[in-house]
């Protein structure tokens, strides 16, 4: 009896010790890494979920395009935000956007940047492992940085002086010059360099082997894939933040909207992306389906030939007339069943430093046909003119509707329909992609990294995709790039946005909902499921470890 008592007591004691040690392991260590003054970083602590229930059920997800095995390799991370869908499944980042913060600690438990922006340091949380049980150390962080060749790679490599590994958990990046955007770009929501790849495994299986059978430190392991068609992921119960709630996640590439709709209705799919469009009323009317508006970025119009001689868009009054002629309320009703929000800025309000286009920072653009006609007449176009309209594919119906609005003031458009990749290719060339001076391009780009990222791509002279090159903006942008003062940088970014809007260089339309629909197997029941879309600036509902479904029959 006494023996049994002592045995039980010892067991409880061991359990308590282990629990305390685990709890300690999750607490960030407070000691500083870098000397000298530091920048105040706004990175949220990780929320470690103690719930350790067994994963259950299968979540079948339909993406709206063919799947690319290349997305499974963070070292070749493109600019496409879609890749993060797979990053959040298989891999884990040092810091990344989470529902509790645009920048949240993940593999790193602590980060520092010196006030001169020449050094950045991270401390990894203790006890991290890859899915094969191999420890994740700063050697992997260093290797990932050095081998990274995806988007922004040149910037990362050009600025780097050297990487200092202090110990298995502490690493310092030394830069040749102030690298102000480092923390923004290193964030997993912006580039792939912060998603840590296992050096030992990658060097063993090689580039192709890794894409075919990737391995990381994320909540799900890839168990099988049919290139372009389907990927199957199984929960990895060793994930540090929490045990994934769903046992199996199957991702399918289904291009056709009707097929995704049918899949949801037959129960073959539990979650489908890109349900905006003609079938949205059916999604909304189906009692078995629920949907989330999933606001991404605003639609806007660009005038690539605006500064060419003879272009009607050279005149601000013409650009303003176009804005006045668009009936945004009607468009929102027709295109999104009233979910979208007429909006006065072209950058997503979820992106840091973006001006809110609902009247808070800038007004919702006015709809006034009479005023639009007057402006056109004053600009010397009383009978309008002809132009080419290039809508973002496949939103051709929306393009037709906008062209109808413009026809009401005498501006006659010819629709130019392009496939998605061809459209991106042309937009990627900026003004050069649209020879002539009479094109209007309808675009949307919910990119992360702060409003400055959108400006850097579309509104400055040096960008390959530049649609605006104006001395006034360029002067502010140069000042922004040279400044080490974060408050001043924010002010400059907002000032540039105001110029773009006041001069009607870009004409915002409405904040777009990229509707996602779920089937009845997704938990929780009712409207609480919207929590899956809480991550800021995320076009898809990550993180995946929190998704719950009913158990398989």
């Amino acid at each position: 009896m006494i023996k049994r008592f002592f045995a039980s007591f010892a067991a409880v004691l061991v359990l308590l010790l282990v629990t305390c040690r685990d709890a300690d392991a999750q607490k960030p260590t407070a000691t500083r890494i870098l000397s000298g003054p530091l920048v105040k970083l706004d990175i949220k602590d990780a929320q470690v979920d103690p719930g350790r229930g067994k994963p259950r059920g299968t979540l079948t997800v339909a993406m709206h395009f063919a799947l690319d095995p290349g997305w499974l390799d963070p070292l070749e991370h493109s600019y496409a935000v879609t890749m993060q869908m797979y990053d959040y499944l298989v891999h884990d980042a040092m810091i990344k956007p989470m529902p509790y913060g645009e920048a949240a600690y993940s593999l790193a438990e602590h980060a520092e940047v010196t006030a001169d922006f020449r050094r950045a340091a991270f401390r990894l949380r203790p006890g991290l492992k890859f899915q094969d049980g191999h420890p994740l150390t700063t050697e992997d962080v260093k290797w990932t940085y050095e081998k990274f060749k995806g988007a922004y790679a040149k910037q990362f490599h050009d600025k780097l002086e050297h990487i200092e590994i202090v110990d298995d958990r502490t690493i310092i990046f030394h830069f040749k010059e102030p690298f102000l955007d480092f923390m923004d770009l290193y964030n997993g929501g912006v580039s792939g360099i912060g998603w840590i790849v296992p050096k030992h495994y990658y060097t063993k299986v090689g580039r192709d082997g890794f894409k075919a059978r990737p391995m990381g430190a994320g909540p799900y392991k890839l168990v099988s894939q049919e290139a372009g068609v389907q990927m199957v992921f199984e929960a990895w119960e060793g994930y540090w933040r929490r045990t994934p709630a769903t046992k199996t996640i199957v991702v399918k590439g289904i291009i056709q909207l009707t097929a995704r709709m049918a899949g949801l209705q037959t129960g073959e799919l539990d979650l489908a992306f890109g349900m905006t469009g003609k079938l949205l009323p059916r999604v909304m009317a189906d009692p078995n389906l629920r949907w989330d508006p999933n606001f991404t970025g605003p639609w806007w119009l660009m005038f690539p030939g605006y500064n060419e001689p003879g272009s009607p868009f050279r005149d601000k009054r013409v650009r303003q007339a176009i804005s006045l002629a668009i009936n945004r309320q009607f468009l929102v009703k027709q295109e999104t069943q009233g979910i979208g929000k007429p909006w006065g800025n072209w950058i997503s309000p979820e992106n840091r430093d973006a001006l809110w286009g609902d009247g808070k920072d800038v007004p919702v653009p006015e709809y006034n046909l009479e005023k639009a006609k007057q402006l056109l007449a004053h600009a010397g176009f009383p009978d309008g003119f002809d132009f080419e309209y290039v809508p973002f594919p496949p939103y051709f119906d929306m393009g037709e509707r906008i062209m109808n609005d413009l026809r009401a003031i005498g501006i006659r458009g010819k629709l130019q329909m392009l496939e998605g990749p061809a459209f991106r290719s042309k937009v990627g060339q900026g003004r050069k992609g649209y020879p002539g001076n009479r094109s209007i391009v309808q675009n949307i780009d919910p990119r992360a990294g702060g409003a400055k990222t959108n400006l850097a791509v579309y509104a400055v002279c040096g960008s390959t995709a530049s649609f605006i090159c104006e001395p006034q903006i360029e002067a502010l942008w140069t000042k922004h790039q040279a400044s080490l003062d974060l408050v001043e940088r924010e002010r400059l970014v907002k000032a540039i946005q105001r110029i773009l809007l006041d001069e009607y260089y870009f004409v915002p339309i409405y904040w777009n909902p990229f509707v996602h629909a779920v089937g009845p197997r997704v938990l929780p029941e009712g409207q609480a499921f919207h929590r899956y879309w809480d991550t800021l600036n995320a076009p898809y509902p990550w993180p995946w470890e929190v998704w719950e479904v009913r158990a398989d029959k």
Partner: protein, 324 residues
């Protein structure tokens, strides 16, 4: 006969070489794939890295030389979009296309050939009108429409059949235990896409069977057989059927290859993972190696089929081989 065979084989090789060369040149006329991959605002250095990775930084003649060299080694190159060897992806998809194509082919034959014969035998009757109507519907109602109707009726409303994909069955060359079951599993997934695809071709089969049969039935030797008092059943089965099937078989062979290789629309609607969808993805993403690989394999099948047909013609009819 040996010389004839060698000559046919040489022609086939030249045809294939011309095909791969034309495809190599044509895909490059569609534009720069790097710009599509690069996303808007991509750093030029990043684009240059992609270009280098894909071998597009070299002169076109060097790309062509390595393309032909790799082909001779059985290597179709790496998919730009899917980042894996084209050969691996293609042969992963091919069994699915074969399964869909063969089943659709059987459906088209089962519908088209008997109805075509019936139409010809009962020409200008109610049966003939019904056959003409079915042929018209088969040729004019597109497969995607039939597919969508099937999805709505049997998938969504009745809930009898699944609407997406091919099920769990897979044919793995490395695993012989999958070789046979693959063809017989998951027929519920196969039913609708195979019918939608087969339906479209059944119209063509019906028409060609009908006209072939009418031609033969109107020929002098059939008239002679009938004058001899041979029963009509024997006339049709023994004397007319075989000869009327020659044009049907030629068309059927080509139809089968089309069903296997370019059933793009049906594959997209039913999310059927076949080679047609690979071609579609490859074309829309300017994935040169993928397009080259799929078209080359399609061409190879056509050339092989033609070669076999030529050889059979030469074997059956000595005049053919002697005239060449």
């Amino acid at each position: 006969m040996k010389k004839y065979l060698l000559l046919r084989a040489l022609y086939s090789m030249i045809t294939l070489w011309l095909l791969v060369t034309i495809v190599f040149a044509m895909v490059r006329l569609t534009g720069d794939p790097v710009k599509m991959k690069g996303e808007v605002g991509a750093d030029p250095a990043y684009l240059q890295e992609i270009r280098r990775n894909w071998g597009l930084d070299r002169p076109v003649y060097a790309q062509y030389a390595s393309f032909i060299g790799n082909l001779l080694m059985g290597d179709f190159g790496h998919s730009f979009e899917k980042a894996l060897p084209v050969r691996t992806i293609y042969f992963e998809r091919l069994p699915n296309s074969l399964k869909l194509g063969f089943t659709a082919f059987v459906i088209s034959v089962v519908i088209g050939v008997p109805l075509g014969m019936l139409s010809a035998l009962k020409v200008n009757s109610w049966w003939d009108s019904a056959g003409k109507l079915i042929a018209l519907l088969g040729l004019s109602v597109p497969g995607f429409f039939v597919g969508l109707v099937l999805i709505i009726v049997f998938g969504v409303n009745l809930g009898w059949l699944p609407v997406l994909g091919k099920g769990r069955s897979a044919l793995l060359l490395s695993d012989p235990s999958t070789w046979v079951p693959f063809w017989f599993q998951d027929w519920r997934y196969l039913a609708m896409p195979a019918f939608a695809l087969g339906w479209f071709f059944s119209g063509a089969m019906l028409r060609i069977t009908r006209s072939g049969m009418l031609d033969v039935l109107g020929s002098d030797y059939i008239k002679l057989v009938r004058l001899k008092g041979v029963p009509e059943r024997i006339v049709v089965v023994k004397h007319a059927l075989k000869n009327s099937m020659i044009p049907v078989l030629t068309v059927a062979g080509l139809n089968l290859l089309i069903m296997i290789n370019v059933a793009v629309v049906i594959e997209v609607i039913f999310n059927w993972p076949g080679v047609g969808m690979l071609l579609y993805d490859g074309l829309t993403n300017r994935d040169f190696p993928m397009v080259q690989g799929v078209v080359l394999m399609f061409g190879l099948m056509i050339v092989l089929l033609n070669f076999v047909i030529d050889v059979l013609y030469g074997y059956v009819d000595p005049r053919v081989r002697l005239s060449r």
